[in-house]
């Protein structure tokens, strides 16, 4: 039973200091401390750091963004933060009670969340001109918050993050577990079966220990002991890795096959024509359009979050099926890239955020422990790149220098369905779906996949939004 690594622990302390709680999202991200570090810094900066928007606006914008995916978890958290920052209680009665200025943002919120390619100059112009107008710096700040929370929904649902303890629907400790809350919790926790699920200590999500700082915070440390129970809902029941056979309906490609394929791909020299490559991109796009969401759409919207949502009918539409086929071409990342253009623009209009986002994207993209399932020393770069590019492909972004044929070889259908759902319809994804895919992978690796969904999606939305702002500025 491992100790929590020192760096993760420091980060948890930091997360607590920032949020006055160690929220479940941070706990799950604790698998990847290097990423968590960047994530916390960024989130703290855009919500509480130096920036053009008033604090209450920032949290309300976050609520509006989370509302697009009906993410009650994030809405609850942000509501609290909103009140802590002295926000006007009446705004929480719904969108009809907020100032016109904030309401004006809703269009961009809606478009960015579901069909970012529809965003154009006129949307920015509408915001920045006339009464209740926004300054460009404010617009960019709002865009960063919106994209952050849209994509955070793509992490919260697919990881099965539960409500916080103090939220309605949060985890309740059964009596039997109360007694486990003692300093010798290690052995007891193991005995409950919560932590003995794996033979490999590495994949214990967040091992228990008696951390004084975070523990003190969180109800006497008992939360930490049962992080699995509450952080990621009941993983134990779905613990099938290396044991359960793939379900007969969807034969899953094992890790060994996957590794074999990656090897073949890296050995083969590219011989297909560029025309063929272009076709492959379109193939991936159209094929993905045929994949449905993993689960049924949630029935109805709970009233308490429905008040933060307008136009619920507006949802993701497959890029390949867009009506505006002619007027909206594929977004070529070579023409407007994060490194070259978006970064400079966002940094110019909203001091310093570019560096934070840049680090966050880089960490998420390059993160690897050279493991895959139980195997070590694996070069996972192809697999990661396939996932990243597949996500951006769903949003109509093409990397000229990528052979999209690789996606079909490396990502099997069930994984693609999962990724697509996580990215486009996160509200439909449940913990069951999380458990169904990538059975041979460890939790930390699966969380990593979800992180990539988060980051690739955020980058895609930002690219569209900032390109639009750029166009608005140059003309």
């Amino acid at each position: 039973m491992g100790q929590i690594p020192q760096n993760t622990r420091t980060l948890f302390v930091e997360a607590f200091l920032q949020n006055n709680r160690l929220d479940h999202v941070s706990q799950v991200m604790g698998y990847h401390p290097s990423y968590l570090d960047n994530f916390l810094k960024t989130q703290n900066f855009i919500l509480r750091g130096d920036g053009p928007l008033p604090y209450d606006y920032r949290h309300y914008i976050a609520i509006m963004a989370a509302g697009r995916h009906q993410c009650s978890y994030l809405i609850q958290l942000q509501k609290q933060e909103f009140l802590v920052q002295g926000g006007d209680q009446s705004w929480l009665k719904g969108l009809h009670c907020i100032p016109q200025k904030l309401r004006n943002l809703y269009d961009i919120n809606k478009i960015l969340a579901h069909r970012p390619w529809l965003l154009n100059k006129s949307h920015i112009e509408k915001l920045t001109k006339g009464k209740d107008s926004w300054s460009l710096a404010e617009v960019v700040h709002a865009i960063v918050i919106l994209t952050h929370f849209h994509s955070l929904c793509s992490f919260v649902f697919p990881c099965g993050v539960n409500q916080e303890l103090d939220q309605a629907g949060g985890y309740r400790y059964p009596e039997t577990l109360q007694m486990l809350n003692n300093p010798g919790g290690n052995s007891v926790a193991a005995a409950t079966g919560v932590s003995k699920k794996s033979s490999d200590p590495k994949d214990i999500p967040i091992p228990n220990d008696t951390r004084p700082t975070a523990g003190k915070i969180l109800n006497g440390g008992r939360l930490n002991n049962f992080i699995n129970k509450i952080g990621v809902a009941d993983w134990t029941s779905g613990r099938t890795q290396n044991q359960s056979p793939p379900s007969p309906t969807e034969p899953e490609v094992g890790i060994s096959t996957l590794m074999q394929r990656m090897k073949t791909l890296s050995e083969q020299t590219q011989e297909c024509t560029p025309v063929e490559l272009a076709k492959r991109f379109e193939n991936v796009e159209t094929q993905s359009a045929e994949l449905g969401a993993v689960g049924p759409e949630p029935q109805g919207t709970p009233a308490d979050i429905g008040i933060f949502i307008e136009d619920t009918q507006f949802i993701y539409q497959d890029f390949a099926k867009r009506d505006e086929h002619q007027s909206i071409p594929t977004f070529r990342v070579q023409d407007y890239s994060w490194d070259d253009h978006a970064y400079s623009l966002v940094n110019r209009l909203y001091n310093d955020v570019g560096n934070l986002l840049d680090d966050k994207f880089k960490t998420a993209y390059n993160l690897t422990y050279y493991t895959m399932g139980g195997r070590t020393d694996v070069d996972t770069s192809r697999f990661r790149r396939a996932i990243w590019n597949y996500i951006q492909c769903l949003l109509g972004i093409r990397h000229d220098d990528y052979d999209y044929g690789e996606i079909n070889q490396l990502l099997e259908k069930s994984l693609k369905t999962f990724i697509k759902s996580a990215c486009c319809y996160p509200e439909c994804v449940t913990k069951k779906d999380y458990l169904k895919v990538l059975r041979e992978f460890k939790h930390s690796e699966k969380v990593h996949v979800n992180l990539m969904v988060l980051e690739a999606r955020m980058q895609a939305e930002l690219l569209y939004a900032l390109r639009t702002v750029n166009r608005y500025m140059t003309n």
Partner: protein, 761 residues
Amino acid sequence: MSTISVLQEGPVNALALNKDNSQVAIGGRNVFKVYSIEEDCFKEICNLRASKHLNLSFSCNDVAWSSTDDNYLATAATNGHVCVWNLTKSGKAMQEQVYQEHKRTVNKVNFHSSEPYRLISGSQDGTMRYFDMRCKAAVATFLSNTESVRDVQFSPHMPHTFAAVSENGSVQLWDVRRTEKCIQQFTAHSGPIFACDWHPEATWLATASRDKTIKVWDLTTSKPTLDYTIHTIASIGHVKWRPQRKYHIASCALVVDCSINIWDIRRPFIPFAAFNEHKDIASGVAWRGDSQVFLSTSRDCSLIQHSFKDASRPASKANIQALDISTKGNTLFGMRVPVSTNTTKPTGLMRKSSTSTISDQFHQSASVLHQFTHVSVCNDLSSFEFLAKNYILYGRSFPEMCEHNAAVAKECGKSNISTIWKIVNTMYGELYVKIQAMHNNGGLNLMNNVDASSTEKKNNDVVGEAAAAQFSSADDDVEGEDQVDHTAVANGYHTYNKYGHPKGDFSFGENELDLELDALSIDYRNGMRNQNQLQQQEDWTLPNEAFNIRHEIRDRSPPPEQFPNNNSPDFNDDSHSSTVDEQPTWLVSVSKIPPMPIWDPSASLIESLKHHAEKGDVQTSVSVLIVLGEHRKNLKTLDENTVTHWLMGYIQTLERFRLWNVKALVIELAWIPSISQMNQQSTRINTNCSQCLKPLQRSGWLCDRCHSTDASRCSICHQVVKGLYVWCQGCSHGGHLMHMQEWFSKNKQCPTGCGHLCEYR
């Protein structure tokens, strides 16, 4: 050679000139053409995208033209291909070689300057490949060990050496014969380097980066030295040295800045020349062999040939004089002086002259710096600070704020400003509403009275004018340095102050009402016209002592005899004449309107504010405007530029006095977007850890470096102070505000026992 341009069907990413500079090749996602450059136009020679088999290897990031053989072009394609094109062939055969070796986008291709057939490419996959056009595959591969290579350039000085710059801010020098390790590597920038260029003569390498700098490195020794740094306003995407001008370099930005700037590296903050023809960012620059002509491409789909004679010179527009005034009234003034008058030394403190004979662009120049010290002590300064600190600008009702501010002004002896507040209160406060109601009752009477008074006024015209002139000059005195007059005003004020009656303590019968109104209208009129001087006519003012507001105003106006005839040197002619001119118009306008519904005071108020601003007292103008709040919309004729100017002036002065809180408040309350946006820029100030001096960025009480909260503990309860921390500036010990208060109510020494006698107030 003149400026010529041609429009393309899509954005252009790069351009290349052939070796005798007569033709240009341009490339982009949808563009790939060769033009010949004629005297006054571009002539298309060849469109390489005419082929039916278009694909991604036609969409180029970079184009290079062989420097030895005019028929060969090379392109760097976004899909990772490096293509070599033979212009003598046609159709599909033109694409003589396609190297599909890079795994990611290729950013740059560069031909060797002397060896034919040799070229090098740098790619997003972090490798560089060296090709021989006669071979099917790369001759050599260099691994940069960085994420991506953004630019590669062969050195013009060392035939086997090339420079490569990368995403992580490092520069590498490679020998083409040694693939295993670079000769030299150093970190040049804190962000990705997007471009580099070797100086044609000197051993300089210029690098351009996302960190908004262009750096010039001297590579003569084994340890590169940074010779020059240019600060730009945006990330730089391309740089190119200007031929025949040792110190000149051209740059174009990646975002935001659409102009092409030519810098003199010795003058790093302002471009030597700028070309603003492009409407979107420029994507490439190429000099046509001589220093006067260059070509550029842009994302606005155009190719332009620029002639140097059409350049704009930002440096020449720069202000060559500088002036600053300290809070104490001392003034520094710097200006350029003709070099020939080098003989006499004025009252200046310093003198700096520089001579330069390096190039025709520079000439001898000299400048002087004068310092003027303010001799007379003037309490204007302290009162400015006092007023700024004590004015209430928001959060209370309008009359309350006016009353308060008037009292504040009065307290520091600014009786005239105090009056303004009162007048503003009268004109826009509750009474304004009350008077409207009165008008409904006694409208006719009022009209008659006004007529009467205006007649009288006419009779008194000359006197009135004289009085007005005197008063405004008296005003100047109060603002200025003439203390005698100021005291005179103050004395007069105190004398009259005795007549003060509590507000609302008045009542009048039917007859009195008329008088009341008469008096009021006079008050108004005078308030308008003279801003704060009331007509000195005892018969008008005496019967109305009971009227609160009016009486206040009356106080303010001592009889004219009290003022010595004014001969202050800074008497403002403008304000004088404007006051006089105002009068007839006013008279006309009043007598013209028969029903005289509600008289709109805004024109006069504007006049008054302008008057103060012109005298340099923007504080009053700005504060009044802020307090007016919604009433501001009545001031229609006050244009926004003027107000912006005032606000800026006030904010700057506050800054100089270090009144940061007031400054922030004024910005916050400013209703003009360009001002209120100032607070959206960074306004954060971090405190430093008292132990390691690292700024406390995360929270004010935990140091990330020391991992301790020692510095922020309360010396009484030894708990961490998370809110307000009060400390003694003598011994630097402190703690919770309440704890310290409690301690010092009983003790004198520092609670830590350090023995310091802290002073707690």
